[in-house]
Amino acid sequence: MAKEALAGVKVADFSWNAVGPIMGSYMAKHGATVVKVESIHRLDSMRTSPPFLGGKPGPDLSACFPYLNHGKYGITLDLRQPRAVEVARQLADWADVLLESFTPGTMKKWGLSYPEVRETNPEVIYFSTCNQGQTGPHSSQPGFGTQLTALSGITHITGWPDRGPAFPFAAHTDFVSLRFGFAAIIAALEYRDRTGKGQYLDLSQHEASLHLMAPDILDYEVSGRVAGRMGNRSPTAAPQGAYRCRGDDGWCALSVGGDEEWSSFRRAMGDPAWSREPRFATGLGRKAHEDELDVLVSRWTLGFPAAETAEILHRAGVSAGVVQSGRDIHDDPQLKARGFLKSLEHPTLGSHIYHQAPFHLSRTPEVLKRGHCLGEHTEYVLTQLLGMSDEEFTELIVEGALD
C-alpha cells in the first residue's frame, strides 16, 4: 500500500468553527501533519456545541469537536502573550499550509498576516476565510454560516411557496464554500512543488456559495425571474416530493420523471386503477394534476414503513429513498456496506462515530484517526516538531503562554 497522498505535508491550523477545521481534518485523513492551535481562553465554538457526553458541557465533552477536528495534533496558545505569538510564528514558518478563519485583521494584530509570514516562509500556502472575504465594506462583519445562508439566498429558497422561509438545518454555506477553498489549496500546494511559488487564498464563503445558484442568477439577469420556494416540487417531474409513510415521522422521497419511470412506478404500486386514468398518462397531464397525484401517492406510501416503500420503488427502478433522520443514518444499509461511519476510541468521549470523506481513493485510501483533547499535544508539538528545549517549554507553561 502506498503512503497517504498528503504524507509529509505540514499544516498549521489556526482556524475555528467549521470551514477551516474540516479542511484540516480531511488533510489529516490523507496523511498530512496538522497542528491545530486553540486556547483555553477562547474555545473553538465546536467545543461548546451540543451534544455533550452525559448532557454536561465541557471542552472535551462535545461530540461535535472531534467530529470536525480529527487526526490533528492539538496545542493551546494564549496569543495575548508575546511568547505565545513567537511560538505561533515558529509554527507558521514550519508550515506548508496555514489555515485561519478569524475576523479579518486578527492575524495582522499578532504579526502573523500573509505578508509577514511570507518574509520568512516564502513558499507558504496561506488560506484565510470568513463570511464575506478579506476586503470590501462588509469584510469584518462577524457571523456564522447558519446566518450567512440568509445573505446568500439559500434561506429564501428553503420552504413552502405559501409560507415564509424556513432555513436549512446546517450552515449550508460553510460546507458548500469550503470545498472550493479546499480544492484550490491542494492544487496550490502541487503548483508550489512544481514552481516554488507560494500564495495567498481569500475565500469569501458568501461568494463561493452563490455558485450553487448560478443558473437561477443567470435566469434573473435574462428574464427578471426571482427564484422562490417550491417545497419539494420540481419544475418538470411529477410526482415528486416526500410522502408520508407508516411509522413515526416516516417519509419516502421520490421523483418520477418520464413515461418509463411512471410505468415502473405504477407497477411498483401494483398498477392501481387511478394510475391508469388518462389524465395521468402523459408528463404534462401528471404535472397539471400534481396536487391530486400527491394525495393518491400518499395513500399508497402510507401503507408501508418508509424503508419498505423506498425499497419497493428502488427495486422497480424508481428514484426513491428514505428521508433519513440522524438515527436512520446509523442504520443505512448502503452506508454500512461502504463502511462510511467508523467508531474510534476517544480519551474522554469513549467510542464514538466519525465518517469518511465521500471520495474514496483506490491507491491511497484515507486513514481515519480520532479527535484530540484540548492541549493534548502541546508538549509534543513544541519540543518535537518545533525543536524547543524542555527548559523553554517549562518556562512558557509557568508564564501561562500555553493556556
Partner: protein, 420 residues
Amino acid sequence: MTKAGEGTLLGPFRVLDLTDDRGYLCGRMLGDMGADVIKIEPPQGDPGRSIGPFYQDIPHPEKSLYWFAYNLNKRGITLNLETADGLEIFQRLAGGADFIIESYSPGYMQELGLGYDTLSRRNPRLIMTSISMCGQTGPRSDLRPSDLVASALGGGMFVTGDSDRSPVHISIPQAFLQGGEEAAIGTLIAHYHRQRTGEGQYIDVSIQESLYWNVMNAPLFWEFEKRILRRSGIHRTWSSAAAQKHRVLWPCKDGHISFTLYGGKIGATTNRAMMEWVSQEFDVPEALRQKDWDAFDLASTTEEEFESFAGPAGDFFLNHTMDELYQGAIERNMMLYPVETIAEIMVDPQLEAREFWQKVEHPELGRSLTYPGATVKLSETPLSITRRAPLIGEHNIEIYEGELGISREELRVLKHNGAI
C-alpha cells in the same frame, strides 16, 4: 504548454469530462484552475442541455442556463462511445489525458471496456473519478438518481422545513453540485500524489455521502442522547438543553432577517448591541438590559429567557426594513443578516467592491451574461472564466483534426456512422 506551466494552477493538465449534471461542477472547478477540460458529449448533445432554466425561456439545447453555468472553461466535442470508432478515439484521448471524470451509472464504463484497470494499463499516471448517486458499491449503487432523493438520503432534509408538513430540500437543487465539488477535492488529492510518485488511481465519489455535512450534528444527537432532531421551521431546537425552541428567522417590514442570540465572546458583542438598539424604541426587560452577556451560556438558556427577548425584538424588527437592519448591524459589528433574494444579491455592494461578478460574451446570443466570478481569490494564480460553455461539437475540428490528426475525409465517415 510546458509541464512546468506557470500562471494557472493546472495549466499543463488535461481532463476528459464524461459527466452529466451529476458531475459537471467537478470539471468546471478544474477548468477554473486552468486545466484543459474537454467535455465529451453524445452526438445529439449532452443530456444536461435539457435542464432549465433556459435563456429567454426558449427550451433549446444551446440555451440551457444550467449547461452554461457549469460547463464554462471547457472545450466541447461530440463522441459516441457506443460505436467502435468512438471507442477507439476515446482510448487515444485517454492515453494522453491526466484526468477522466465520469458520472454514468456504476458499471457502464466497464461494460464499454473503459474501466480504470483497462485505461490505466496504457496510462498508469491516469486519475479517473467516478461520481454516482450512492457510490460504485453497496446494495443501493444502482439507485436511479435524482437530486431530491439524494438530499433525503443525505439526511439534511429530515431536519429542514416546517414541523406540520413534510421535510423539504433547498428549492434550487444542491445535491449533485455538492457531489461534483467533493469529486474535485478527491481528484486533486490524487493529483498531488501522482505528481510526487507518478502513480495514478481511481476515485469513487458518492453524492449521498457528499451531503453528510448537511446533517451536521443530528447523527451525534442520536448517538449521545438517543434523541432524534426534527425540523422546526424558523426555530433551532438543539442549541440549548433547557429550551425547546430558539428563534432564527424573523419577519421585518419588507421581508425577513436572520438573528439569534449566541453565547461566548462573539455572541456578547451582538447581544449587547441588540438590547441597546431595541431599547431605543421598545421596552426591553431590565433583566436583559443588565445581563452579563460575557458570561451568557447558550446551552443553559431557558425558553423564558428567549421569550422575554422575542417580544420587544420581534416588534422592533417589524418596524424596520431589511436594509435598515442590515446597515445598522454592520455599523454595530453585529451578527444579523437579511434573508436576501437573488435580486438583492445582484446589487450587494460588498460583491461589487470585490469585483465578484464577471461578464462573459455569448456571441451567438448577441450579448454578455453576468456570472458569479472566482470561487476563491488566489494571489499568484487567480481563477478566471476564460471561455463560455461550448456549443455542441464546437471543438471537434480543433481537437480531432488539429490534435489527433484525423482527416476531414475520416471525419466525414465518423459523422456518417454516428461516431461524432
